[in-house]
Amino acid sequence: MSAVVKLHDIHKSFGSVEVLKGVSFEIEKGEVVAIIGRSGSGKSTALRCINRLETIQSGTLEVCGHRVDDQSLDLRALRQDVGMVFQSYNLFPHLTVEQNITLAPRRVKGVPNREARALALESLQRVGLAEKIDAYPEQLSGGQQQRVAIARSLAMQPKVMLFDEVTSALDPQLTGEVLRVMETLARGGMTMAVVTHEMAFARRVANRVIFMHQGKVWETGPGDMLADPKTAELRDFISNGL
């Protein structure tokens, strides 16, 4: 098993504020890593660095063989290997579910129009929403929109999926339906990095949990570590979170 995502001593500042102070971790192929921590701990920033939505100041960062810290990086090649799902879904409101899903495959990978619908259907089946193929995003619930966003990302057949607090905008019931889809993905062998506040999900589904605090990886271990935190900060975080 080799690591598909490797962060080594990553430093990142916004202006004079250093948000990442030497972050290092790796994600193996097929592994599900949950990244937890307080708001402002740098967990979302770390995730966004992985597909170069943010550029890092120093350190080395390699994702699926792409040197992300290299200026000459082929951005579009990286983005084809790394899918991303956001807190705010970010579906394209003027396009149907089918068009949302097939836009990038058609434009980027040259999937012919007649095969596009089958591709959309296949992706939608993986998130259990095949019947919504012709709907517009505004006709769907938040949970459904987020599942379509996952399907849209899946249609590009990424090797790694990044989830940035994807359930934070949803009520508990809708959160459940999105988490179930993610769990199915995880069981199917997808490599995933999940920034989340869902401790139960982190504990049950993640192979490994990374607790970030003040721009650093503070504590890391299997899901069970949440039941038995080593550091005071993690203990504090967990007890406040419940």
Partner: protein, 221 residues
């Protein structure tokens, strides 16, 4: 002919002027729209120099009366040996004028589409141009339609300035008729009604588009 009565022939003459007003407006709008699209692209470009150049252009044009622009193009170019026919001079002036305003209107519309739409597209490996064409512009166009039509009304009225370089559009036609009849209230009154007949439907259209847009906004939120 001095002091004669307003006849049907005079009215036809005014209608011909009105036709030239429409032609000039269309010219200004089509050319200005194409150039304005370019201005919008430059104003939202990633290259700072392009943004700066287009910013200066927009500020210059917006801070100058259209009449001065018209004088520069018609008389100014004439002095250096470039003689433009009045229609072309007026068309070019209005194009420059419209491009600055439309470019700025459209820049605002493009920038009002949430940044996250760019980000989501970027993450799907779409190029900047693909994102603009397939994701951003369709959303921006809905927002842009009412102010764009509203600006068309302004351009149409501004074409009256072309009368000063001797282009016989509606205003100039009315002056010509009035010079022979000297019934300014009647002649310019009719010209005003004709302008109104052109602009009012557009204003109404713009307002109905705005209403439709508000409905869309509520759903999109």
């Amino acid at each position: 002919m001095m002091g004669g009565a307003f006849t049907f022939n005079h009215f036809v003459y005014l209608l011909q002027g009105m036709m030239w007003t429409v032609v000039l407006s269309a010219l200004a709008f089509v050319l200005g729209g194409v150039a304005g699209f370019g201005v919008m692209l430059m104003r939202t470009a990633r290259t700072r120099l392009l943004r700066q150049i287009s910013f200066v252009f927009v500020q210059l044009v917006q801070g100058t009366p259209l009449l001065i622009l018209l004088f520069v193009v018609y008389f100014g170019l004439g002095v250096v040996g470039i003689e433009l026919p009045p229609l072309l001079a007026a068309g070019v002036s209005l194009m420059v004028y419209s491009s600055a305003f439309l470019g700025e209107i459209w820049r605002g519309c493009v920038e009002s589409v949430p940044r996250t739409q760019w980000e989501a597209s970027e993450c799907l490996a779409l190029t900047r141009w693909q994102t603009l064409v397939d994701v951003i512009l369709p959303q921006a166009a809905r927002i842009a339609t009412p102010p764009t039509v509203g600006f068309l009304v302004q351009v149409m009225k501004s074409t009256s300035l072309a009368s000063v370089v001797g282009f016989v559009e509606l205003t100039r036609a009315a002056q010509v008729v009035n010079n022979s009849l000297f019934t300014p209230f009647l002649v310019f009154g009719i010209a005003g009604v004709l302008y109104f007949a052109l602009c009012y439907p557009l204003s109404r259209w713009s307002r109905s588009l705005e209403r439709k847009l508000n409905v869309g906004r509520r759903q999109a939120a």
